[in-house]
């Protein structure tokens, strides 16, 4: 399974990421998720979220998740981009692509990746007023 992990302070350019998709002839499904900063956090209006990370451990923990995904589903490739630093409301902080033969495994692996990330990957957020 190919995988690409990017932690970046820059904006996530979704159209460019989509345009760079690589998919072999056996693949029939690509699932994408964009996680976007909402305008409120626990009923408080916010302007942005600041993301901080323990970067080396982020890499390690994502790779442990990739290993689990590879064992469970026939995924051809995974790309994930997570922003660090200040991300304004309405901008994506997380972008994810899963390429697989069929939609079932692509949806399952994508949701598993996000669920596990939220449990184990050391990234934290701080809402900014």
């Amino acid at each position: 399974m190919k995988h690409q992990l990017t932690l970046t302070p820059g904006a996530i350019d979704e159209p460019a990421l989509i345009a760079a998709r690589q998919m072999s002839a056996g693949m029939g499904a690509a699932v994408y998720f964009s996680g976007v900063v909402r305008g409120s956090e626990e009923d408080q209006t916010i302007s942005a979220i600041e993301y901080t990370a323990f970067a080396q451990m982020v890499e390690r923990q994502f790779h442990l998740i990739f290993d689990q995904i590879e064992k469970r589903w026939p995924i051809e490739s995974l790309r994930i981009v997570h922003r660090l630093g200040v991300v304004k409301v309405n901008e994506p902080s997380l972008w994810l692509e899963v390429v697989a033969p069929h939609r079932g495994e692509a949806f399952a692996a994508g949701q598993f990746l996000i669920d596990e990330m939220k449990r184990t990957v050391p990234i934290w957020k701080k809402p900014l007023p």
């Binding site: 996680g35 890499e59 996000i114 939220k118 184990t120 990957v121 050391p122 701080k126």
Partner: protein, 81 residues
């Protein structure tokens, strides 16, 4: 032995510290280190049920035996995405 400790996210604010060094006897565990840290940082002690612990880049439990030079990270629940 010497253990380096790093705090992440708001644990830095709770302790007023980003990182520190502790000298511990050989054979000490994560639990022993936490006891030492909690004595100096009562606000950290209050968070112990929601404290995550890594040695290097892997999660470890309280009974994990530390080795000289280990880097231990303490942080609150993660919130990526």
């Amino acid at each position: 032995m010497t253990i380096r400790v790093q705090f992440w996210s708001y644990f830095k604010d709770l302790t007023g510290c980003a990182d520190l060094t502790e000298e511990l006897p050989e054979g000490s565990t994560v639990h022993d280190l936490l006891k030492r840290l909690h004595a100096h940082h009562p606000k950290l002690a209050a968070m112990q049920n929601s404290t995550l612990i890594a040695v290097g880049v892997d999660y470890q439990g309280r009974s994990h035996v530390l080795r000289d030079g280990d880097e231990v990270s303490l942080f609150p629940p993660v919130q990526g995405g």
